[in-house]
């Protein structure tokens, strides 16, 4: 029987999700696992739980900016606090699901490109046109993607993904769930790795 995949729940507007996205596939690959990428709208879940966006919390938000820059240096990936924050990641997430329906690998490449633009370079990626430009840059059909993200079926797809995440117990991002075992936070990747190595502990 093949190993259960890693379900990777993230939001494009979450900087710790950006860090997680850099390593999740390699980590899974080391343990003969695949990763199912699941962009969600964490803000919709926060409305249910009453949680505050990290960056808005007094003192904690300032610390998070420091910690993010430090974590990115340690991981050796670019990090730029976006001029416009928070990002409305709706169209990027919808675009991901539209691509994924045809080509999961293309969807992942698109996700990496969105992340690189937004958290690596601090650019604003919100409108269908901005999201389309990202797709064009990596050789995908930006015009088709810009049209697709306004379709009711794609909007519903993202709503459904967010609801399914909430039903699975996701209250923050990034969260990885593997065979029912939840790991919340990029800072749990060492635990996740150990869990995969030992099959739980």
């Amino acid at each position: 029987m093949p190993h259960a995949p890693l379900e990777f729940y993230f939001d494009f507007s979450s900087p710790y999700s950006y860090l997680a996205a850099q390593t999740i596939d390699a980590l899974a690959g080391e343990h003969d696992r695949r990763v199912t990428w699941r962009p969600i709208m964490i803000g919709a879940i926060f409305k249910h739980t009453g949680a505050q966006p990290l960056m808005d919390v007094p003192l904690k938000g300032a610390y998070a900016r420091h910690d993010l820059a430090r974590s990115a240096r340690r991981l050796d990936v670019p990090f730029t606090m976006p001029a416009k924050f928070p990002l409305i990641a709706l169209n990027a997430a919808r675009g991901f699901y539209w691509l994924e329906a045809h080509d999961a690998a293309a969807a992942k490449r698109f996700a990496h490109a969105v992340y690189r633009a937004y958290w690596g370079e601090g650019r604003t990626v919100e409108t269908p046109e901005q999201v389309a430009a990202i797709a064009d840059n990596i050789g995908l059909d930006g015009a088709a993607l810009a049209a697709a993200v306004t379709e009711p079926a794609i909007k519903e797809r993202l709503r459904h993904a967010t609801e399914a995440a909430r039903a699975a117990g996701v209250f923050g991002v990034p969260t990885v769930i593997v065979a029912g075992e939840p790991f919340w936070g990029y800072d749990r990747f060492a635990d996740l790795r150990a869990w995969l190595e030992h099959g739980g502990w």
Copy 2:
């Protein structure tokens, strides 16, 4: 010039502080550093920041219980969710400072014994008598400690320590500050270790 010490801010009522307390001295020792233990009343800081105690947050609290038990297994230390929670850690923290004024090593042994009783065994350690019993068990003068924790000077000592922590930017526990660099959370110990190894990065 000797290396700057690690300032270890914690609250006896914080389970992640309990995990941090298990390894902080060994981690510092590997890098020729000393640790200054600083119990504080994190609840007093939460009153300023509006933060919610972790265990009270919907979904997050349930996850934290799961994560704590898992982290304790990984660290191979006992963990028992206390029947009475949260703990009012006022007298334990006061007792620590009273001991520390005479004998810093005794204060650390006391802190470990309080933690072991509370988070290792799930026992209630709140009243001066309960705190005194912990001290007696490790060969310290419990009666003297029980008397000391009601003295105005010791109460003021703890208030001052908590205010100093807030002034230093502490908004959650455990937090370690070394040479001005803050690390919030037991899950930043790998980062702290790397920072000590490389002198920042």
